[in-house]
Amino acid sequence: MTNYFVPATLACYAASLGFYVRYLYAPKRAIGHAATFALAGGLILHYFALLVRSRAIHGIPYDDLTGSLSLFAWLLAATYLGLELVHRQKTVGAFVLPVVLALFACAHAFATPGTAAPPARGPLFAFHVTLNILAYAAFALSFVASLIYLIENRMLRDRRLGPVGWRFPPLEALERLSRSSVGVGLVSLGIGASLGFVWAHRLLGRWWNGDWKVFVTLLIFAAYATYLLLSRTGTWRGARASLVCVGNFVFVIFSYSIVNLYLSRFHRFF
């Protein structure tokens, strides 16, 4: 079945990216609103695109690369939109939307036919996976914010803002955005991982299954919790904490790729 929501979503995200980039050059209220509305429109269409796929596979689409990446992109966009509304900081959109677009485009460029969900899965499992992907999306957002922070901080300290430096978001806004998204990520990862333990206990009769994915997930949780603590201390606040945040994302990529593909026995959700 042709999923017409996919090109429509792509168009909305592309329009939103265009408006966000325009907003960087000319921060007018109308342009900012247009960017946000286009993103919201993209999110709604993306939801329906996921829904179509969900109906095809009778489950939440995270069992293959297409579904998983698409869900990741949707949650990243949703997290960003939420944090944009909280922080009223639209300039980061120009840096986040390319990631959303790239993930969404990759997901659908390499689209695979939807497969039926394996048995013995239910709402608990769905929440477990979805919340974990939400956590990854939030960490991706904090990665983008921290990376921009480091680049802009270097420019400011070298006193060479150049043509792009004047368009970056303020350092404090980036710091706040990064912390907030890590907060969202930690909560989702905490709940998502706990649900995973519960589900494993129901299925296997034991809480701990010694899977690589579990080790790495706990490592990620510890790494980001450490970042959150450090970022509020005098010694680490600012560039050092941002560096930690950027470094932490390596674990996320490792978990999402190498661990899922080659190391984990129970977690192969793309």
């Binding site: 000319a26 043509p163 970056f168 303020p170 350092l171 404090e172 806004a173 005098g234 600012g238 050092r240």
Partner: protein, 425 residues
């Protein structure tokens, strides 16, 4: 429909001369009123800023040298001899008036390329003239176009985005670090001219709190009063440094006031929150090694000057894009003007042909004398229909002409050939 502009600006006149020919709002109203009362202009607008005084107008058809009359008026209004204005006055006509105004509104003719204030000043001048009934359809259209091009140039180019003054560059840097300054504080040490400008910009950007410290307690209190800030004793400087997010220093001192040790202690006391130091002092007030401290951003006057120079170059690089927008809007005005002219020329042509028809029938009246009244009326009607048929094709072609230059040429040809007195576009 002629357009005339006379004026002087920072490019042609000294500040002394500009001061003498400046108009207050009330004077601008009065001048516009007098220009129309004396029959020099039918529509008029006075644009007066610190860098320019300009009279825009649409003169009556029968005014032979409107620009000279306006120049003479300008001199007499300001109680000056015409020769005092002499070489400082520039004159523009028709399309050049439109182009000049659009460039002014875009900030392309400003002393500080791309400055934003001029657009507000053009808007205000237009509002004053409009409210006073001094403008008409031509100036209304032209000034609305100017406001539009001014907005577009600022929205679509970067001609006005980056700071091009040392003081404003300092404040914009603070916004790069802290974002909105409403919840942040600044400490001002000493007060040079640039320091005062920085304070002005900080106030404009809504800085949370300001404190001032000076070696002389009396001068410190004086500055605090002037800046609506809180005074801090010079002796308490070490403790005071724990409080602000930004320090602007312009103290006359041969030795650095803010040493590395002092800032290190301050950073410890403030939990390493980011601190922006703007050192406007020469010799420098802040030890250069402070730049190496974590979360400290140090900019001295040379750094700011370099930023300003880079930004000026960046603004200059935007000139072609801004000029292209100006050209686009000048062409729009020209199209509108040609549309208005087409209607006027065609109306004039019909009027002229109707008059010719009347004259023709009057000349031949004797030949139709034997015809009853109804038949004579029928002949007259047939002549009307014939003229309409003859005109139908050329009129449609003229209205539908897409190429503006050709359209204007055709209109000019019609005016010349039929001696139409409709005013030139």
């Amino acid at each position: 429909m002629e357009l005339v502009l006379i004026g002087l600006s920072h490019r042609t006149a000294t500040v002394e001369l500009r001061e003498r020919v400046a108009f207050s709002v009330e004077q601008a109203r009065l001048a516009a009123h007098e220009l129309r009362e004396r029959g020099i202009l039918e529509e008029t607008l006075v644009l007066s800023t610190c860098n320019r005084s300009e009279l825009y107008g649409v003169p009556p058809e029968d005014m032979p040298d409107s620009a000279a009359a306006m120049e003479s008026f300008l001199a007499s209004f300001h109680k000056m001899r015409p020769d005092e204005l002499g070489g400082s006055i520039y004159r523009h006509r028709d399309l050049e008036v439109v182009r000049h105004l659009y460039r002014v509104a875009a900030g392309l003719d400003s002393m500080l390329l791309g400055e934003a204030e001029i657009l507000g000043q053009v808007r205000e001048a237009y509002k004053v003239a409009f409210d006073h009934g001094a403008t008409g359809p031509v100036l209304n259209r032209m000034f609305q176009g100017a406001l539009e091009v001014g907005k577009r140039v600022r929205a679509e180019t970067e001609i006005g985005t980056r700071p091009v003054s040392v003081a404003f560059a300092g404040v914009k840097l603070a916004e790069r670090i802290f974002g909105s300054l409403k919840n942040h504080n600044a400490l001002i040490l000493g007060a040079g001219d640039t320091g005062e400008l920085v304070v002005g910009h900080l106030r404009d950007r809504g800085i949370g709190k300001l404190r001032v410290s000076n070696r002389s307690a009396e001068r410190g209190r004086d500055l605090a009063g002037r800046f609506a800030a809180e005074a801090v004793a010079w002796e308490d400087l070490a403790q005071a440094l724990a409080w602000p997010d930004m320090v602007v220093s312009s103290v006359a001192s041969s030795e650095p006031i803010l040493t590395r040790a002092l800032i290190e202690r301050a950073m410890e006391a403030r939990g390493n929150r980011a601190l922006l130091l703007i050192d406007l002092g020469v010799p420098r007030n802040v030890d250069p090694s402070v730049a190496g401290l974590y979360n400290v951003y140090l900019y001295n006057i040379d750094d700011l000057q370099e930023i300003v120079e880079q930004n000026k170059k960046a603004r200059a690089a935007e000139i072609p894009r801004a000029e292209a927008l100006v050209d686009e809007h000048v062409a729009k005005f020209l199209t509108w003007q040609a549309g208005v002219s087409t209607t006027a020329v065609l109306a004039g042509l019909r009027q002229r042909l109707a008059a010719e028809r009347e004259a023709f029938l009057a000349e031949r009246a004797a030949e139709f004398a034997h015809l009853p009244e109804a038949d004579r009326a029928r002949v007259a009607k047939m002549l009307d229909e014939f003229l309409d048929r003859v005109l139908l094709d050329p009129v449609e072609k003229l209205r539908g002409e897409r190429e503006l230059r050709r359209k204007l040429q055709n209109l000019e040809a019609l005016r010349d050939l039929f001696h139409l007195d409709t005013g030139k576009p």
